[in-house]
Symmetry: C2
Subunit: 394 residues, 2 copies
């Protein structure tokens, strides 16, 4: 995939699909299937998901999160609400295949979080990473990640209690989840800075790495204990460590450790896909969810961006750049399948949506920039002037 | 432990003893024990053992192994045979607690492999790492590691078949195990060099690391399939990679990954220790095994070294430096306990032997060198002259 100039994660997904228990993995060797899920593989995959969100938190950072401008906030919030609400609504109204509320909520949650990594790499290749579009996309994607995880927590809470909430109850669930997350984040930031300061005083090899590991998994366990998903805690732990001076060391360590766990996660995601269970109708459903995924981000992020910058061209570019869904969408799909909220049909649609949006985003983004490296309106401004111009326009 | 200038691994062992299911881990929290072994913890510990031997193989290297001189070979072979035979004999003759042949074989196997890391660090501190004693110890420890694993393979083969072999059968088992190991090593060296050359052609992040991981665990699986212990395969894979140009990259990667797995291994080793099950008699047994451990290496390595260098002082230093047992002894004890070949008493004796020899070796070694940094006889020679002098003396 790297040779084909495509995201490497797609290779891991395809390997899972091809080698999984529904395909080549079902071949019998000495009376046993070649590949089967046992508790060890699933545990490694879960650890992989936790580490992926921990790395995402390291990239975002608590300080950067607090410093976000109002324009990114609006783009990010609309970029979560529009896909979620549109997804839930359309999936309920057009049942391809027939779905209930839990399945619709999982689809909606899987549609929220943007995978900014692909977009960032494309912007870098085009040399426009520091353009106004680039900065808007990265900041909005941070909001997307945080809100996407909160939406997921709310969806899980609704699915496990089994009650469709009234508007008042829904507001209460939203506020309580937000409150729990903020409490978790602040305590992890507090404990994390103390722990890392302490661990730096020790001379033994690996103390900082172990403190970071303990913070990541401790926060994930705490998160699960208060009713949020473990990955929310891992993400918060990453945000806490991103502020500290040991960030580079922790990032290098987790990068190596993730080499073991994260391909197993994506492999399991792919291997869970049963292509034989698909019907013609689920292909239509796949196309429908894909259409929602693309339209909802182009509209939900593009229109606020166009209004903020008073440039429809910048709006279109931001909208296109936010299309790609990746890790979080796949994790949400996996959680939904494991919880029994969605069936193989819907799971396949979510995986296909994540894969195809990841493939098309760099292509569309390159096309939208054409040969011009930066947008017309801000081409001659400095970074500070751009920020000032943006902060007054919203 | 690092602060106390002691090996860090002792801290991991003690943490396991204190927090394990036989001590603080048995405290009930909400009706569940605080720490319990589940299949995930045991799987992590097994992966830890495999990685520890992989790292040991990386340090040894296939090229270095082939280039060993005859004097190191004799010291290494005697340093394995004397502890093994003396251990098996004394444990059978003096049953403290009463033991059968499988238990005696496990004790013997646990007594073979020297843990050179502690000795190397001490020699470095004394500034005599490149002395004649240092070079003899490191090379002989390489032989110890290899032969120790072969002894373990033979012991496991005897325990699982349950037959006490006749001398002819024993010779056959030794030759077959040696042949299997050499075949495994050569195929891993062959496949490994091809795989790593191939993986360097790929541009994707982590290809070399994943090739090394695949070689390590593939070789461990192959080793298990042909009837050797998985750690023998992991050690061979490490030796194969040590020859390649990617050694530094693989060593750094495995160093980070081992930070996760290897403390869990040592923690589990410690946690398996049930101090409450010990009787006064098992304390005597512990002292007996400790005495065998010290005497057998001082005699088994020291006398050949004294003959080779015609210096009783060098012989004594080499003998003292080879006393420490570490990872391999603990792994052998763990295998014996898991296979039911030894009981808690004997297991505790092996763990105590490994811990105490690790603690006393640096103390005795410092004392044996006194204030003089290098030995008298070879003080004025260059490294080449020393080698020439050694190669003629045996």
């Amino acid at each position: 995939m790297a040779r084909l100039n495509m995201p490497e994660v797609l290779g891991e997904l395809f390997a899972g699909i091809v080698l999984g228990p529904f395909a080549l993995g079902s071949l019998q060797i000495w009376g046993e299937p070649l590949v089967a899920f046992n508790e060890h593989v699933l545990a490694f995959a879960e650890i992989g998901a936790i580490l992926i969100l921990f790395v995402a938190g390291l990239e975002v950072g608590f300080a950067q999160f607090r410093a976000l401008g109002s324009q990114s906030l609006v783009i990010g919030v609309c970029g979560v609400l529009v896909p979620f609400l549109l997804g839930v609504y359309v999936v309920l109204v057009v049942p391809l295949p027939p779905t209930d509320l839990p399945a619709a909520l999982i689809v909606g949650a899987a549609l929220t979080a943007t995978s900014i990594a692909i977009t960032m790499r494309t912007l870098e290749e085009l040399g426009v990473l520091d353009s106004i579009e680039g900065r808007l996309m990265i900041n909005a994607a941070v909001i997307d990640d945080v809100l996407g995880l909160i939406v997921l927590s709310i969806v899980i809470s609704i699915i496990t209690t089994g009650v469709t909430p009234s508007p008042a109850e829904a507001t209460w669930v939203v506020l309580r989840t937000l409150g729990l997350w903020l409490g978790l984040l602040l305590s992890v930031v507090y404990v994390g800075s103390r722990l890392l300061t302490l661990s730096k005083k020790w001379v033994a090899r690996g103390t900082i790495e172990m403190a970071a590991t303990a913070l990541c998994f401790g926060s994930a366990a705490l998160s699960a204990a208060i009713g949020l998903h473990p990955i929310v805690g891992a993400f918060s732990a990453g945000m806490a460590i991103a502020e500290s001076k040991v960030l580079a060391q922790v990032r290098e360590y987790i990068g190596k450790v993730s080499l073991v766990f994260s391909p197993i996660f994506f492999g399991v995601i792919g291997a869970r896909l049963n292509l034989w269970a698909l019907t013609p109708m689920s292909i239509y459903g796949m196309l429908l969810i894909l259409a929602i995924a693309i339209i909802s981000k182009v509209v939900g992020c593009g229109i606020p961006a166009a209004l903020a910058t008073r440039s429809s061209r910048i709006g279109a570019r931001v909208g296109v750049g936010m299309i790609s869904r990746g890790e979080v969408g796949l994790i949400v799909g996996g959680i939904g399948l494991a919880a029994g909220a969605i069936n193989q049909d819907v799971y396949a649609q979510i995986v296909a949506m994540a894969v195809i949006t990841t493939i098309v985003t760099p292509i569309l983004l390159r096309r939208s920039f054409g040969r011009r490296a930066t947008s017309d309106k801000f081409a001659d401004m400095t970074a500070e002037q751009r920020d000032a111009s943006l902060n007054t326009s919203l």
